[in-house]
Symmetry: C2
Subunit: 316 residues, 2 copies
Amino acid sequence: MRLATLRNGSRDGRLVKISGDGRHYADASAVAATLQEVMERWDELAPRLEALPEGTLPLDAAAVLAPLPRAWQWLDGSAYRSHGDLMDQLLGIKVERSGLPLMYQGVSDRFYAPTEDVVMAGEEFGIDFEGEFGVIVDHVPMGTSAAEALRHIKLLVQINDWSLRTLARPEMQTGFGWVQAKPPCSMAPFAVTPAELGSQWRNGRVCLDLEVHWNGQRFGNANGEPMEFGFHELVAHAARTRDLVAGTIIGSGTVSNENFREIGSSCIAERRGIEVVDTGAAKTGFMKFGDRVRMQAHAADGSAPFGAIDQKVVSR
Amino acid sequence: MRLATLRNGSRDGRLVKISGDGRHYADASAVAATLQEVMERWDELAPRLEALPEGTLPLDAAAVLAPLPRAWQWLDGSAYRSHGDLMDQLLGIKVERSGLPLMYQGVSDRFYAPTEDVVMAGEEFGIDFEGEFGVIVDHVPMGTSAAEALRHIKLLVQINDWSLRTLARPEMQTGFGWVQAKPPCSMAPFAVTPAELGSQWRNGRVCLDLEVHWNGQRFGNANGEPMEFGFHELVAHAARTRDLVAGTIIGSGTVSNENFREIGSSCIAERRGIEVVDTGAAKTGFMKFGDRVRMQAHAADGSAPFGAIDQKVVSR
């Protein structure tokens, strides 16, 4: 099952169910008004959404919001070791992992719609994209184990975790994590149930290629599988000392593979890191106002389960 | 004007206006259902709340929730230098400030009611309280200056920012900030307008003594004034690269004064830091299950504008 949220003038939009071809929808208002409501009553409402007839109403891409246009909690990991090691090298910071997943809490009162212009404070802050996967959970009680956490993962999403790189290093050095370096994220149109991915959801990982284009040029095509920690482990980490509110979104961090020199990267900072390692200096610049980024994950059958993020960066 | 939120079975409770004596309330449902709604339409609704008659209904302390029982955003600073310097020493971490305020984003989907039991994952995590002040803003556009930010500060609150100290250091070392070390906070009963404090709100600071008792013993009585950065500067810092959603809460960090040896501390970690500096070892332990903490700020006239937090820590 795939779900989406359409613009209706409210902050949370209205919930719809997406057809198999990804081009039509069925009204879901008889089941729930918003996706947040579904996350709060998943066990009761999900079967009723599954039972809705195949949608026949034509989907207008411009009317699609993020599946959760706002969420009570957004916790982002950094679970791809090939990315993390390179970023440490680039930032000149030795991140002490202590065997635990890396995670920070980010702004969640707004997630950009997949085709919405993204307003940035300034080019001088080093505007970068980060292609990621994420999960949305129902209520997760404090102390839930990784094994138990797997069944709380109800939906999968695809995210662009926008980053401002020149602000990232000083914020990391405080030990307090990022505020200024992490403006709101964007989400691809469709939230999909794990079952929808079949065997490409395994071991708590979204095993799809995430294709990234920057201004029409292919920039990367990394696969989501090689996470050091699976999503269930990230959920358990987050829930160690708090209940996770239903509708919490947990991110993977920038998707990255060891062979990034061949397949490319899901963020500019990683490419710059490779350039520093290989040539002693970064030559690729960050994004400029007017630049576009497109991100689309591909399943083995060629389909794009999450739809595409395709956005322009603009000045305020 | 002082506002509070009463338990009514919903997650956001119902808004009431508090009487001058702090023991009575007036129903405010004709103006707005919740405080979040007021923050979203402050300029329109605040004058109507001011115009409500003095409350005559008796207030039941057990029925009072946090003024915002959940918020879309909670950003906590660490603006008291006497505390920060000592904590650096205790943690053995040199926090690089770069001239900027320290700030992290914390869990905001739940704020404990002022007399509610606080459920902690384990005593072994080093359960600590942190007495703070905070502000609630209306919508703050990205790029708002500190001078402009002052007029977005609509309400002041008193907070206990619960901390798990043994988890704090490893999370700081990642540079990603705290997730596990920062479970949900508690809030004192009343949110007050800056005007309510008269000259004790000045230069973006809450200039009240914050009296803290741990298990009936006075632990600290620091004054809120000596913030290195005022709340308006914290708001501007937070809004540098994002719009702040109406109802965002921004915290001061643990209230601390230079003469902490005489007046005491607003958290256990600070007292332990003093013990380490003075004797080479910390002798005060952290909280145990069953322990209570009481926090109440006092105005010059002896009144307690925010009411009191008085809670017990319990096991899950």
